[in-house]
């Protein structure tokens, strides 16, 4: 047998991948990501297998861990579902962290500023204010995406807006909002009773979990789900069109600016709702530590979930487990930011998986 060469042919597929196929590929990219990080850990002298088992065991099989996991789901799901919308429109919002923080700031402001209102009014007001401020923080990203003359301007701007948000929190908790009885720690006083969101007793799972899940299902039903190939709302249809072929959508009369703004308002608002819940239901006071890379993690959660709210629920659960297991990561001597290793590598493999879903590789041996 005289093998001259192996010829590799890469052909673009014409059929959309089946649901089963895309599920398998997503799980594969998840596993590859874990393997990749495990290799990195090994190189650094950390035993990945034990670490993974500990994280998994803690997050899903201990009561404390499970509660922690579920409490992490709340902001993560809010952010990721929110992100799925601009991502579908090919708008890359990576500043969800900033929008999340603005939500927390708004909630704090309302909580202390209108502390006399009864709970039934105060808490919804906090959510509304949070949504508004988060949406506002997200609008520049839309503007840059549409009017920006160079690729990536939306990405850069969205990230750049995270830092002012963070700095604002620093300023507020060290300055005008500082807790007078807090021994100088940079934090606000504890939220007034009527501004606190009720928690499931004994855990840190607060009732905003209901709000977040409700929004998730609403978004799925009205923007994503199709019956007979047709989405429920015009907006859902337009977002898909704009994301897949902005030139064709524009030619049909869809205003890119309108869609971009709508998508970013929803995204920023959702992230902010996560922030409101976090500060009013979990931490019960505003601290700089409220920012925990949720913005970045949300990006991976959204992509891994296939930009579909239902899929995102599943991937959010997984990543929440990972976040909850953060304590195990710290015990292994690693800084918490290491979670970004998982985020980054899984996202890379999801990207790669996208290639294998779209292209078929044929190979034959020549001669």
């Amino acid at each position: 047998m005289n093998i001259r060469a192996v010829e590799i042919n890469i052909r673009k597929k014409s059929e959309k991948p089946t649901f089963e196929a895309s599920l398998v590929i997503r799980v594969l990219s998840l596993i590859m990501g874990l393997v990749f990080v495990a290799a990195l850990f090994l190189l650094q002298g950390v035993n990945p297998l034990i670490l993974y088992i500990n994280i998994f065991r803690y997050a899903f099989f201990t009561l404390n861990g499970l509660a922690e996991t579920l409490s992490r789901v709340i902001p993560l799901l809010a952010i990721a579902v929110g992100l799925s919308i601009p991502f579908r429109a090919r708008i890359d919002n990576i500043g969800a962290e900033g929008q999340f923080l603005m939500g927390a700031i708004a909630a704090t402001g309302v909580a202390f500023g209108l502390a006399d209102l009864p709970s039934i009014l105060l808490i919804p007001l906090m959510f509304v204010a949070g949504f508004a401020l988060g949406a506002l923080w997200a609008v520049p990203v839309a503007i840059f995406r549409v009017k920006g003359q160079y690729k990536g301007s939306d990405v850069v701007v969205s990230f750049l807006m995270v830092f002012p948000a963070y700095s604002l929190i620093q300023y507020l908790v060290n300055g005008p909002w500082r807790d007078p009885g807090g021994w100088g720690f940079p934090q606000t006083p504890l939220f007034p009773e009527n501004a606190q969101i009720m928690q499931v007793p004994g855990t840190q799972i607060h009732l905003s979990i209901l709000l977040v899940f409700a929004l998730t299902f609403l978004i799925h039903h009205y923007l994503v789900r199709t019956r007979d190939g047709i989405p429920e709302t015009k907006l859902g249809y337009e977002i898909n069109a704009v994301g897949q072929n902005p030139a064709a959508a524009e030619s049909a009369g869809v205003s890119f600016l309108r869609i971009a703004l709508t998508a970013m308002v929803i995204s920023g608002g959702m992230a902010a709702i996560g922030g409101v819940g976090e500060v009013a239901g979990n931490l019960l006071r505003l601290r700089p530590e409220i920012s925990t890379n949720l913005g970045f993690t949300g990006i991976v959660v959204a992509w891994l979930g296939g930009l579909n709210p239902l899929g995102i629920i599943v991937s959010a659960l997984f990543f929440s487990g990972l976040l909850a297991g953060g304590v195990e990561i710290q015990m292994a001597g690693l800084p918490v930011t290491v979670i970004n290793l998982f985020n980054g590598s899984i996202l890379l493999f999801v990207l790669l998986a996208d290639f294998f879903m779209k292209y078929r590789i044929e190979w034959r041996v020549l001669r």
Binding site: Y150, G152, S153, M161, Q170, P335, V338, L351
Partner: protein, 306 residues
Amino acid sequence: MSIELVGSSIVTAATFFLIPTLGEILAERSGILNLGVEGMIISSAAGAFGVAFMTGSIVLGTLAGMAIGGLLAFIHGVISITFTRNQVVSGISLTILGTGLSGLLGRDFVGSIIKALEPVPIPGLSAIPFLGPVFFTKDILVYTSYVLVPVLWFILFRTRLGILIRTVGENPTAAYSQGVNVTLIRYLCVVSGGVLCGLGGAYLTLAWMPAWTEGMTGGRGWIVIALTVVALWHPVTAFVGSYIFGIFQVIQFSFQLSGIPVAFINMLPYLSTITFMVVWGILLSRQKVRRIIGAPSALCVPFEKE
């Protein structure tokens, strides 16, 4: 504070922006948008510091930093060039990965101290009043940045490689049909860009602030990406732009003594970057401008042979 000291700090700050910006210009000129700059810089910074601390050699540390930057850029290249996937998402993934990697690589070295890169006065030039102490009494990486600017200019505009790079970035099909190996050129530029990012990261922890803390870059890698646009993809304007941002950085420090809260001062570089982007966006939207300068036409567009 003497004006010479201020000037010197500006040069220090500017160099940190300049080196990676030159790298990004190279990558983008060939058509690849590398948004992983922040991740490459910060992980190189951590890695360089770690290696320098462990081996006691700044040279090895610098090389380690460059290698890390190059490696991450290579991954970006594989995903963007060979697998023709979305360059924006790939770059974002690498930033995220790089941030995590920096935590991993630097974890044992938080709080450690090394001997920083020493400034080396250039004989003769360092004696010039004002210019001497400011520009010519710096460390070797700063001098490297001075040299890199004309070298990059020369490569891009006076060599055959440069015209090939620029053609690949404007119209890769045109280059390919004339026999150019588009893939090779793109890989070359992206990886070189990553190496320069790594050099910038090494500069941060080995020369500028010889220490390692998490999040040291403070997101300034993103400013590099904006700077590439502000520089209109040209090495000489990159120099000017980096120095403007160097000035902003130093102003930041001096403002801390005034009454304005620290937090607002910290917002300055980000807000000013956004302002620049708005102004430049308006400028570049004019047709008459775009036909002469602007982003390389094939930037961020994957090249498929058929």
